[in-house]
Symmetry: none
Subunit: 402 residues, 2 copies
């Protein structure tokens, strides 16, 4: 069953408000003498109170054992089947810098690289040049490359990575990467699988030919590789599917991009944690769905910094009363995936979920934590059902069948 | 996977007996100082004994967050995927009065309404006329309307609602409602989407034209609106799918209709709760599957009467020894959905399930209740798998694969 299709038939517009608070990479695995996860170690009296009154569960973003990237992780949170709605690497790269993609745009990830006199790749990442050097190279390329038949956009991302976008009618994305994934070889030829992709291929080949000349004397970034050709398709929006007037309150471009992808309004927000919650309060009357994204938990996990991840959770907990004061009908606290400090990476472990609100059936959990979630009333579920639950608790769904 | 398709391959005919005892709207959410659900508050020593010996779980009739109507709720109990087997509004209306639909029949819900001199709707429900007035109007219409090319049946349902059925070969149901859902407009024109529906449309237009004349001087019900054109299809029957010889013991027409839809024999039963269990005993030798339906739990929930719902559960508990005495191989006690008194309506909360019998693996639950079910061995599952479990515990399924 396509749960989203079902929801689109049952959703009704109401004034009730849903807050989806995402602590990126929330889930963990235990380390240390106490043998507790970061969430279990953190002091979060406010979340614990919500856990006592609300319902807990554990959710798999994609499926058991599958470690999701940020794209699939968030799509699942937003109720989009992450296996059906695959985001291409190029599109994700463009979303990651909050580039305003339009339907039909072809987004490509660019890796600056180093080649020798014969055009053989000697470093696939050009020594991981700094983002500043990357930005200067992009400016130089844009000043010198003229493409006819399409608009193009080139934006630096990070280190040796940038994003290239072609905009013209009828472009395809069925083109292989030019990165051979190994040094000692030249970049691969592009092969197009269909007519629309032929058109894109010509644009990309022209771009690379001109870039090669512009970069000729640069060191070490004297060439570029193209990866992840992908066409940007408009997704069914939150207002179409859920009849929600949704906004996103996030610091990082990737998450703003993902929110924009599903039609959320992305709010301007100050740099501090407190600013996220100030923005929530200031916009409370304008929307009925609020996606609030916290990055620090994931960053700490990725760095393998157990203590910092605990601290990040503690800090968020102190902000919870500000949400409660606004009286949302439904508050969801969860993550997009687990990022155990022990693994220094995203993982497949299911994500703790807390749903709080008026009509929740309480369960056996007395605090918020991975093991407490095992006794939760939401049980174990696929994350793509989270929106269904959030909508239900906010009384935004009609009965199915008479 | 289509579990029912799989079961149809594995089912074997045996003498073992299954009782499916459905307490309509069984699940709840806590209210009051004790903060317990109706099932948790009720005194049900017999169910608690079965819970200790048996296995508990929680089931979602359709999917997480989805609130089912009685149709989908019961189809799921009977093992029919409620999203695949959608019951049209017209068919459900006819089933609701236990009208003996035949395959190919087109069932339509009729709403008596009020129109002014110009045919503009001034009341979509004709002031919710009484069921008695409705019945008289139906008699008058039947006495005066002659339709050629098809048999028609018209039966009062409740207040302003009645059921119209056309019976003829080759009728379609792809026709829009004539109810504009708003007053101040005339009834909508009917549009047919295909040839068979064209045929139905002509019959329906002829019926409405004649009805208009017959009702001309009635007040306030001087016109009618048609909704939910739906074709009745024979469902795969219990005997075909499960090789079960099944009967239904129920007081309310809707549930008899749903049971008939899946090929159960519907037994005549006296008006009291005890009569249901007397009927069970009296027919014990004739069937090997017994669907017993209790309505009071749901009615009390819908009325928001917490105490009456508790009492209804208590009363059913006192009947349990009568079932045990018959020695069924498998006894299932559950609901078709939750109806928390707090919400005065069906809800999405998962439904408590108790399976008791010889071959049950006991679990951690010591009593029957929503929170106890969280520690149950059946875990959390989609209700459409209930029949699979019931069949398994009664040893009515062969091994899958060698």
């Amino acid at each position: 069953m396509d749960i989203q299709e079902l929801l689109s038939k049952l959703a009704i517009e109401t004034e009730s408000k849903i807050v989806l608070l995402v602590l990126d990479g929330l889930g963990g695995i235990p380390i240390g003498p106490q043998y507790k996860t970061e969430l279990e170690m953190a002091k979060h009296p406010n979340m614990d109170k919500l856990a006592k009154e609300g319902a807990l569960g554990l959710a798999d973003p994609v499926a058991r054992g599958i470690t999701p990237g940020s794209g699939p992780g968030h799509l699942a949170l937003f109720g989009y089947d992450p296996v059906k709605y695959l985001i291409g690497r190029g599109v994700l790269e463009a979303l990651g810098i909050d580039f305003p993609l339009k339907p039909g745009d072809i987004a490509i990830r660019i890796n600056f690289c180093t080649v020798d006199d014969k055009g053989i790749i000697t470093d696939r990442r050009a020594g991981r040049i700094s983002t500043e050097v990357n930005a200067k190279l992009c400016e130089k390329l844009k000043a010198n490359i003229k493409i006819t038949g399409a608009q193009y956009f080139l934006e630096p991302v990070k280190e040796h990575r940038s994003a290239l976008v072609f905009r013209a009618p009828g472009l395809g994305d069925q083109i292989n990467d030019t990165d051979p994934q190994i040094i000692g070889k030249p970049p691969l030829e592009m092969l197009a699988q269909d007519k629309p992709s032929e058109k894109t291929k010509k644009l990309a080949e022209e771009f690379v030919a001109q870039a090669k000349k512009v970069l000729k004397d640069e060191k070490p970034a004297n060439m570029l590789l193209l990866r992840g050709f992908s066409s940007f398709e408009r997704y069914p929006s939150f207002s179409e599917v859920y009849k929600l007037n949704a906004c996103a309150i996030a610091h990082y471009p990737m998450y703003k991009g993902l929110a924009r992808l599903v039609g959320m309004e992305v709010l301007e927000v100050g740099p501090d944690l407190e600013d996220l919650f100030k923005e929530l309060k200031d916009n409370w009357d304008k929307y009925n769905f609020f996606f609030v994204h916290i990055k620090q938990t994931d960053s700490a996990g990725e760095d393998g910094d157990w203590a910092r991840k605990i601290e990040a959770i503690d800090k968020v907990d102190k902000q919870i009363p500000k949400i409660i004061k606004l009286k949302p009908e439904t508050l969801v606290i969860t993550g997009d995936h687990s990022t155990p400090s022990k693994l220094k990476a995203h993982s497949w472990h299911p994500v703790p979920v807390l749903i709080w609100g008026e009509n929740v059936r309480p369960d056996l959990a007395k605090e918020f934590g991975e093991r407490a979630c095992l006794t939760g009333g939401l049980g174990r579920f696929e994350m793509k059902y989270l929106m269904s639950l959030a909508m239900a608790y906010a009384l935004k769904l009609e009965k199915f069948g008479a």
